[in-house]
């Protein structure tokens, strides 16, 4: 699956970010996020920041919120492991935090190196007191993200939305792109 064709769920997720007033979008890219990253980057009202590692995004969004901005961290499941200690910032400061995670290591995964963090992602997040919402089918994606943002920024509960690999599509290692 390439970024060429914008998928409906991806457009809906972008609309949720706009409606919820998300201003800072930090990411380590994933193919499943590419359409959303492009849309956010094209919106002059949004600041998109490419990170060198996912934990930077947690600190960055903490600082953003200190300054009055709402933000979101986009990453794939392998990045969750990089975030663990930095999540102590969110818990200690009871800061809002929301992340949208594309899952790897499941549903026909071709690359076994994606499996360990893919399998561990929900548990790792839960252990760090981040509430996990898993989306299996496209029609649930936008409503789930909307709820997660609300409970993060209104309810001060750290939240993660996991987009299943079945939903985003298997990574095709034989494809030209």
């Amino acid at each position: 699956m390439s970024a060429a064709g914008a998928r409906a769920w991806s457009v809906e997720l972008y609309d949720v970010l706009v409606r919820q007033g998300i201003r800072q979008v930090a990411y380590v890219p994933d193919a499943g996020h590419s359409d959303l990253i492009e849309r956010c980057g094209a919106n002059p009202a949004m600041e998109t920041t490419v990170l060198t590692t996912e934990e930077e995004g947690i600190a960055l969004l903490g600082g953003a919120w200190l300054g009055g901005d709402r933000g979101i961290l986009l990453m794939q499941s392998s990045g969750v492991g990089n975030c663990v200690n930095m999540l102590s910032l969110i818990e200690n400061c009871r800061m809002p935090f929301v992340t949208l995670i594309t899952m790897r290591g499941e549903w026909g995964e071709f690359n076994p190196w994606q499996a360990p963090m893919g399998l561990a992602t929900p548990d790792v997040l839960s252990r760090m007191n981040v509430q996990v919402h898993r989306v299996e089918v496209a029609k649930d994606a936008a409503a789930t993200l909307d709820a997660a943002i609300s409970q993060s920024y209104d309810g001060m509960l750290a939240s993660a939305v996991l987009l299943s690999q079945r939903l985003i599509g298997r990574k095709d290692f034989e494809a030209e792109d």
Binding site: G57, A59, L60, A64, L66
Partner: protein, 196 residues
Amino acid sequence: MTVNLPLLDRRETVARLLRDRGELLVVSGLGSATYDVAAAGDDPRNFYLWGAMGGTAAMALGLALAQPERPVLAVTGDGDMLMGMGSLATIGAKRPSNLSVVVLDNEVYGETGAQPTAIAHGVDLVRVARGCGLEAPDDIRDMNGVGTLVERIHRSDGPLFANIKIDAREHARVLPARDGAWLRSRFREAVLGLAP
């Protein structure tokens, strides 16, 4: 060169950085940098990190992007900066002119028994920062250099990076509040006028 001059005192250095601070917003890195910023005088516009090692510069970046009209300063140690070195690349890619990252470089992990950092083995943070596209003067070794740095911080024509060579002497700890939820509410009330 000035290598024979005594190294700077961290408390005097940070007190000079924060004197007449104006609109400056400050994020301090865990350990001695946080104690130094507290010792210079508590202020609701200080956000003291007590953990989250490696995150100081990235946190200041998010704040600088959210508050582009105010100068934002990260003050941290060389250990924290080395752990978060990738964030210099992230800052270089975003180039917020109002962000300054200042490292208090004593070449040791002071909180854990003064084990040497990579700086003691020859790593040069100024060259790293320049490679990432930040404005970065040579290592600062005297108070005149600190004074010039303060002017640059307030000009907001960065992103700016500075590495200040300080002595490794331990000072009495000046401990600010460590309740993060209180610190963030106090900061947002002072800066944004928002109730908790």
